[in-house]
Every structure is written in C-alpha cells, then in structure tokens.
Amino acid sequence: MSLLETRDLTGFYGDFQALFGVDITLSEGETVAVIGANGAGKTTLMRSISGVITQAPGMVRFDGREIGALPPDEIMALGIAVVPEGRKLFPSLSVEENLMMGCHRRKVAGPWSLDTVYGLFPILKERRHQPGTALSGGQQQMVSIGRALMSNPRVLLCDEISLGLAPVVIKDIYAAFPQIRETGASVVVVEQDVGQAMKVADRVYCMMEGRVTLSGRPSDLSREAIHDAYFGAAA
C-alpha cells in the first residue's frame, strides 16, 4: 500500500483551476519527482498535500487516512514536512531557532536532531547564531531542508529547491539527498530542473496544465517522451 497518495485531486489557484484530477502515489522509502513547466500545477499540488489549500478529505490520503481537509499544522504533526518554495526562513529567527521551529510541534525520536542536521550541513553550525536571512541562498536552502528534517518526517516535500540557485550550489544541496534517503524518509521532489530530478528520483511524474501527462522510472522514459509531456507534443 502506498504511504501517500492523491486521488482525482482537483485544485484551484484563485478562480483559476490548476489541477484537473491528479493521481500520484508515493511508497515507503521511495523518492518521487514531479516535474513540469511554470503553471503546470506543481505548487498547487504541494499546497494541497501540505494543507495550505483545503481539499475534500478523500483527495489526499496518508498512511490510509484521509487528510485532504486537515489544516497544515495537523498534517505536519502526522509526519509530512515541507521545504517550501522560496525557502521561507523566518527573518526574526536565528539559524538555530529556524531549525528548532521544525520540531516545534512534532517531537519524535528519530535520526534527525540539531547535531545530525549540523553534521549534514556543517556550515550551518558556524552560522547558527546569525539571522537566517544573513546567509547565502544555498545556505538558506540548507536551513529550510534542515528545518523540515528536524521533525523526523515520514514524508519530505521539497518544493523547487533549486529555484534561483547556481548550478554548483544545487549540486551541493542534492549531495545531501542520499543521506536523507538512507534514514528511510520518503521524498517528493518538485523540480523544473529535469536533469536533477531524474538523477535523484525512483519515479517521475511529469505534469502539464494541471494533469499528469507522463509517469514512470527515469530509465524507462525517453528524452522525446519527457519533452512532449513537459512542453506538449508538437502538433
């Protein structure tokens, strides 16, 4: 049985319908990538799962439970942590305080603690008393990922973590993924960077205009198929 799934998920971005019946599944320990161009509905999908957008209860299921209508704080308490698009560090909080916010509500024993997060991203330990916003973009992204890990989540949702970062920085951040996966967390990676997504994911969903247009294992998908699913087939 899958750990997290959406069933016929529809979603609106204001008055605009952004999702038209999306079905995706995530198994325990699996990493899934969701790729697609701007406006494909990726962020609406993430916001529906994390509870920022309230849905019909049955549209999102986690561990056999209907969570579509739960508020975000309760969904996080169940074990779905978010690395939000744009990092969203709290500017009034220091790096360490930002990390501590990750386990504000969900305090479960697990592989992740301040020490292990600092082990994963050593630079954060040096900077721990600085305001989160004094860091470079890549370091801020590390704080945002560390903050999500602090809750020892069962599912980690990463929304556009490479957005606005230099390729070398993106590589650094993705270098942490094997360690995150080793701890057993399931991961959903939302990316515009197709190459990066194919490298880390066990399975890929490609979205276009609010629908899943292609899915499968990276090795089974040809460049043409992805190109067509991403941009639409040439008429």
Binding site: S50, G51, V52, P71, P72, D73, M76, A77, A81, V82, P84, K88, F90, P91, S92, L93, E97, M100, M101, G102, H104, R105, R106, R147, S151
Partner: protein, 287 residues
C-alpha cells in the same frame, strides 16, 4: 535639585505609561492587531480588582494576583471567539471590532458601576515614601516603575528564550509557513492576548491605586500607550519602556513649567520624536 526631582518623578510616571503600552506592543508585534479597546480593558481590570478589594476585603496586591488568571482567560477567549475571526490581510475589520468593543465595555461598565469615579484603596502605601537625599520618592511610583522593568524583562525572556516566544516571532513573520511547522496561529494569538491581559491587569493595579478612574477613562490611557509604543519603535519591548519614560518625563517637566502644559508636553514630545525618528527609537530591522 527641584529639576532632578521633577525628572525622577517623570521617570517613575513613565513606568506606568510603559505598563499601559507593553500589552499593546506585544499584541501589535505578534499579530499586527491594533487593539483600540486596550485602554478600556485596563479600566475593566481595574474594576475587577476594585470589586475583589471591596467585596472580599482583600489587599490590592492579593486582589490583583487573583485578577491575573481571570484577565488571562478574558484575553484568551476574546481572541479565540472574536478577534481571530477578523484578523486577515485587511487591517480595517479588527480596528472596527476593537472600536466596537471599546464602546461596549465603556457602556457595560457604566451600567454596572455608574459614572462615579472610583479608586482602589491601597492603605498606608498610598502616602508612603522613601527619602533619597533631599528628594523623596513615593513607594507606589517606585513599585510601578520596578514592575514595568520586571514585566519588560519577563516578556523579553518569553520572546527570546522560550519555544513559545520562538513561535510568537515565527508566526509574526509568516503565519502560513509557521503553520507548516505545526504552529496553530489561532492558539498562538490567543496565548499572546492572554499574556497581554496579564500585563493589562498589572497596569490596572497601579492605575487604580494612583488616581481616580471611571468607565470612560480608557481612551485617554490608550493614547499614552500608543505614543509610548510608537516612540519606542513598533514591536520593540525595551523601546516601549523607553517611550513610556519619555512621555512621563515630558509631562512632569511640562507641568513644572506651567501646570496647564502637562498633557500637552507629553504629546509634543511624541510629535518631536516622530519628526526626528519617524520609525521610533528602536525600530525592528524589517517589517
């Protein structure tokens, strides 16, 4: 020497204004809510203490101690049932609701306690003083000022050293992301207003023992509180204390020059600070 005395009395008076203002500063800092009923809530707490003193024969400090949890509950319920419903991107609804609350409180107090001005009796403490060289300082003003410093320290501790304070600051920065961290903004706001009402009760104790109050005293206290918050810089607790002291000193110095100028001098000092430092003395780095 007489001027040293005047300034010192002003500083002590400033402690009272800071106590009026700290609750307002706390609530504004966390949820950008301007509570126009803040002054009336101080008066409500003063009547509550007065009732406990007159009905149960308690001392004012014991009565205030009992009033603290009651007012915390009042604040918590007020936030949960009323204010949380109107908080949002638009700042007008909460302004209107707290303005309405102010009218309701004043009229309810008038119904219940009549328009007579009242005072919380503090016995011998009312006139007790300690001589410091040639100057004598009242015990009640000293207690007021000491309480203002203690309240500022305590709030500062809660804000910067506890998980609750971390949640306060995170929610103030970004409620949506805070909720993704498991924070329930509605509960955080209810806690904040509850704590603000605890500060209000302490302010009410010293307001009620220092001077007469009646059901319509609130709005005038609210003006001093606003001025203290704005002089200090929005959201800064130490700034709020400093703002209270500046208004207090301006008032006593103004009164010394001409008794008619007491209130005016406080407002003039406020305007001067606004001219020189439009964002207050200790503004937050960002807003």
């Amino acid at each position: 020497m007489i001027w040293v005395d005047t300034v010192l009395q002003g500083v002590l008076l400033g402690g009272l204004y800071a106590l009026f203002a700290l609750g307002l500063s706390l609530v504004f800092g966390i949820m950008r809510l301007v509570n126009l009923a803040h002054g009336d809530l101080i008066v409500l707490a003063a009547y509550l203490i007065l009732m406990l003193v007159t009905l149960l024969g308690l001392g004012p400090f014991v009565a205030a101690l009992i009033a603290l949890p009651v007012m915390f509950a009042v604040g918590w319920v007020l936030q949960r049932l009323v204010l949380n419903r109107v908080l949002g991107p638009d700042i007008l609804p909460p302004l209107l609701v707290t303005f309405g609350l102010s009218v309701v409180l004043q009229n309810a107090l008038q119904e219940g306690f009549s328009a007579d001005s009242r005072r919380i009796p503090a016995g011998w403490l009312e006139t007790a003083s300690v001589p410091v060289g040639p100057i004598s300082l009242g015990v009640m003003p000293l207690l007021t000022f000491g309480s203002a410093i203690l309240v500022t320290l305590a709030l500062q501790f809660v804000f910067y050293r506890t998980a609750l304070g971390r949640a306060f600051r995170a929610t103030s920065d970004d409620p949506v992301t805070a909720s993704l961290m498991g924070v329930k903004p509605a509960s955080v706001f209810a806690m904040a207003t509850g704590i603000a009402m605890v500060v209000v009760t302490i302010a009410a104790l010293y307001l009620g023992t220092r001077a007469n109050f009646d059901p319509t005293t609130g709005p005038a206290r609210l003006i001093y509180a606003f001025e203290a918050v704005i002089i200090g810089g929005l959201g800064s607790l130490w700034g709020t204390l400093a703002g209270g002291i500046i208004i207090g000193v301006a008032q006593t110095v103004g009164a010394k020059i001409n008794p008619e100028w007491q209130i005016l001098a406080g407002h003039v000092a406020f305007l001067v600070v606004l001219l020189v430092r439009p964002r207050g003395l200790f503004p937050r780095a960002f807003d």
